[in-house]
Amino acid sequence: MLQYIIKRLLLLPFLLFVFSIIAFILIQAPPGDFLTSYIAELAASGSSIERAQIDALRTLYGLDQPYYIQYIKWVSRLLTGDLGFSLDWQKPISELIGERLALTLALGIGTFIFTWMVAIPIGILSATKQYSFFDYFFTVFNYIGVATPTFMTALVLMWIAFKYYGLSITGLFSPEYIDATWSFDRTIDLLKHLWLPVVILGMDGTARLARVMRANLLDELKKPYMEMARAKGLSEWRLVMKYPVRLALNPLVSTIGWYLPLIFSGSVIVATVMNLPTIGPMLLRALISQDMYLAGTIILIYMILAIIGTLISDILLAWLDPRIRMEDN
C-alpha cells in the first residue's frame, strides 16, 4: 500500500512539470506579449504608464529574452511562492487569489459531498425497485439533469427567485459580510448562500453518478451470492446494504478521479453567472483583459486541483480494492 502511494507521489513532480509547460504555452498563446497589449489598452483609455515601470516589468518577466528563459523565470518565482503581479488589478496575485481559492474549494467539496449523498440513495432505490415509478421518475430526472447546461439551471432559478420572491440570489455573502473578516457569523452566512450553487453545480453529477450506481448495483444483484444469502435467511434490506452495495460502490470511487476535477472546472461557469467570489470569474476576467500571468496562475491551480482529485481517487481505490495495489508488484 505504502509502496503504491509513494509510486503515485513520485509521478507528481513530473506531471506538475508538464502542466506548468502547458500553462506557460497558454500564457504565451495570445498574439503579442501581454505588456504590449496592456500599454495599448492604457493608451486607448487615455492614461499611460511610466517608462521606468515598463522596463522594470520587462526585465522581471524576461520579455526580451527567449521563451525558455521566460519559462524558467516564471517557474522559479512560482517555486519560491511568488505568484507575480496582476496588471489589471494592480495587486499581487497571491493577495487576489487567497480567499477566492478557499471559497472555490468550499464550493467544490460541498458539491462533491452533496452529489454523493444524493446520488447513492437514488441509485440504490432505483436498482432495488427496478421498473417502479420511482425508477422511471429518476431515469427521466437523470436524462434532464445531464442535458441541462449548469448555467441554464442557474439562470432559470435566478429568474424564478427574482420573479416570485423578489430575491437576488447571487454571490456567496450577504452585503454586510462581503468585506468582513472571517468570523463564526460570516461562516454561517456563507453556508446560507452556498447551498444553492452547490445544488445547481451538483445536478449533472448527481444524475450521472446515480446512473452509474444503479447499473453497478443491478449487475451485483443478479449474482449467485445473493441467492445464497437469501437462502440463509438474511433480511432483504440488510443483505443489499451489506454485500452488493459495497461492491457497487467500488467502481464509483474510480469516478472521483474525473468527477472532482470536473466540478472545479465546471464551477467556472456557474460562478460567473451567479457572480460568486471564486477564482472562476477571475479567470474569465483575466482572459478577457489579457492579464495573462494571472490567468496562467489560475489555470495552474485548476490543474493542481485536477491532479489532487485523481490522486485521491487512486489512493482510495487502492485502499478499497487489493487487486489494484497488488497489480504493480
Binding site: T148, T272, I299
Partner: protein, 389 residues
C-alpha cells in the same frame, strides 16, 4: 428496458462477425443467419421506442439546420430600434369560428416612469398568418434564389411583422435567430466529433495495433490530456484566438479546440478493441491469407466495431454542443455577428436582462431538447450495438 430476454439462439454462432447474437426470436433463423451486422443492429434498435422518437425529433432539427431561412420569418440580422424586447406570441388558428391563422398585433407604449417599453396585444387588429408565404429573399444552400418561407405574414407587402419568440435588445426576431443558431450549434457539434473520430481512430488504432513503445507514448499522452481541467483550458485557448479573425476562421478554430480533448475517449475505446481483437482467429486467418496490414485494419477489424463508434460518437455530439454553448455564452467562443445558441444566450447573461425579458432564455430550451434527443438516441444505439447486454 425489456426485462424478459430469451437466451441467444445456439444455431446463430458465426465465425467472422462476433456481433450476430440477438434476442430476436420472432424472426426465423434463416433470415437471422444471413442478416448483415447493420440489419441486426437495426432490429434491436427498433425496439427502443424512445430512441426512435428522438431520431425523428433530430431529423426535424437537422432539417432546420440545413434550411434555416425557410423556417425563419425575418432576416435574423435585421435590427429595429422600435421593436426591442417584444414578448413571445402564439399563433391563433381560429377567428370567429373559421380557420384563419392569425396573431394579435402588438402595440408598444413607453411607460412614463420606468421608461420601459410595454407591449400589449391590440384587441381588434389581427395580423393574418399564412403558410408557404413570400418573405425576405434568401438562397437555398447558397444556390437557389427564393423567398418562400414556411410561415409568415400572409400579405408580403404589409409592413407588419410577427415574432413567435419575441425580440431581443436590438429588436431582432428571436425565432429566426434561433433557426439560424441551430445550423451553427449543431454543425459545430458534428464537425468537432468528426475530427475527434478521425484522430481517435487513427491514434487509437495505431496504439492498439502496434502496441509496444508506440502504445506507451500515445497512452501517456492521452492520460496527460485527460487529466487536464477541460473548461479552463478551452477558455484560455479560445480567448487567445485573434479578435480580427473572420467568423469562419473562429468557427473552425473552436471545433479544433473542442476536439483536442474529445478524441482521447474514442482513442481509448478503439485501442481496447484492437488489443482484444489482435488475437482473434479471423485476424490470424487474414494474416495467413497474405492480407496487407492496412487491409486487415480497414476491411477486417474496423467494420466489426463501426456500430460502437457510431454510438459513442452520437453520445459525444451533445457534449460538444453544450461546450460550445458554454464558451459562446461566456463571450469566448463565437462572437456576433455569428449566431449560435450560445451567442443567443449571451443576451440573457445577467439577472437584469432575464428579469426584463425572460423569453431570452428560450434558446436554452433548444439546447436541452437537442441534447436530450441525442443522448437518448445514443443510448439506444449503444444498447443495439452491444450484443451481450
Amino acid at each position: 428496458m425489456n426485462p424478459a430476454k430469451s437466451p441467444p439462439n445456439p444455431t446463430t454462432s458465426m465465425g467472422s462477425t462476433s456481433t450476430t447474437m440477438s434476442d430476436d426470436t420472432f424472426r426465423d433463423d434463416d433470415a437471422f443467419d444471413v442478416a448483415p451486422n447493420w440489419k441486426l443492429v437495426w432490429w434491436r434498435f427498433k425496439k427502443h421506442r424512445l430512441a426512435l422518437v428522438s431520431g425523428v425529433v433530430l431529423m426535424v432539427i437537422a432539417l432546420i439546420a440545413v434550411f434555416p431561412d425557410f423556417f425563419s420569418t425575418r432576416n435574423p440580422h435585421k435590427t429595429s430600434a422600435m421593436q426591442s424586447f417584444m414578448p413571445t406570441q402564439g399563433i391563433h388558428f381560429f377567428f370567429e369560428g373559421s380557420l384563419i391563422p392569425h396573431m394579435d398585433k402588438l402595440v408598444g407604449k413607453r411607460n412614463s416612469t420606468t421608461l420601459k417599453m410595454e407591449w400589449k396585444s391590440h384587441k381588434t387588429q389581427k395580423v393574418p398568418v399564412g403558410f408557404f408565404v413570400e418573405g425576405y429573399d434568401y438562397q437555398i444552400l447558397g444556390i437557389i434564389d427564393t423567398n418562400i418561407h414556411l410561415f409568415g405574414v400572409s400579405d408580403p407587402k404589409s409592413l407588419q411583422s410577427i415574432h413567435l419568440l419575441g425580440t431581443d435588445r436590438l429588436g431582432r426576431d428571436q425565432w429566426s435567430r434561433l433557426m439560424h443558431g441551430t445550423r451553427v450549434s449543431l454543425s459545430i457539434g458534428l464537425v468537432a466529433v468528426s475530427l475527434s473520430i478521425f484522430f481517435g481512430i487513427l491514434l487509437g488504432g495505431i496504439s492498439g495495433y502496434f502496441g509496444g513503445w508506440v502504445d506507451m507514448i500515445i497512452q501517456r499522452f492521452i492520460e496527460i490530456l485527460q487529466s487536464l481541467p477541460p473548461i479552463p483550458i478551452w477558455m484560455a485557448l479560445t480567448a487567445s484566438l485573434p479578435r480580427d479573425w473572420s467568423v469562419e476562421q473562429t468557427y473552425f478554430a473552436i471545433t479544433i479546440i473542442l476536439s483536442m480533448i474529445g478524441w482521447t475517449t474514442l482513442a481509448r475505446e478503439v485501442r481496447g478493441r484492437f488489443l482484444s481483437m489482435r488475437e482473434e482467429d479471423f485476424v490470424m486467418a487474414a494474416h495467413l491469407s497474405g492480407c496487407s496490414q492496412m487491409r486487415i485494419i480497414f476491411r477486417h477489424m474496423l467494420p466489426t466495431f463501426t456500430s460502437h463508434i457510431i454510438a459513442t460518437s452520437t453520445l459525444a455530439v451533445p457534449v460538444m454542443i453544450i461546450n460550445e454553448t458554454f464558451l459562446s455564452f461566456l463571450g469566448l467562443g463565437l462572437r456576433p455577428p455569428a449566431i449560435s445558441w450560445g451567442v443567443l444566450l449571451q443576451e440573457a447573461q445577467n439577472l437584469q436582462s432575464i428579469a426584463l425579458a425572460p423569453w431570452l432564455l428560450l434558446p436554452g430550451l433548444a439546447v436541452i431538447i437537442t441534447v436530450l434527443a441525442l443522448n437518448i438516441l445514443g443510448d439506444g444505439l449503444r444498447d443495439a450495438a452491444d450484443p451481450y447486454s
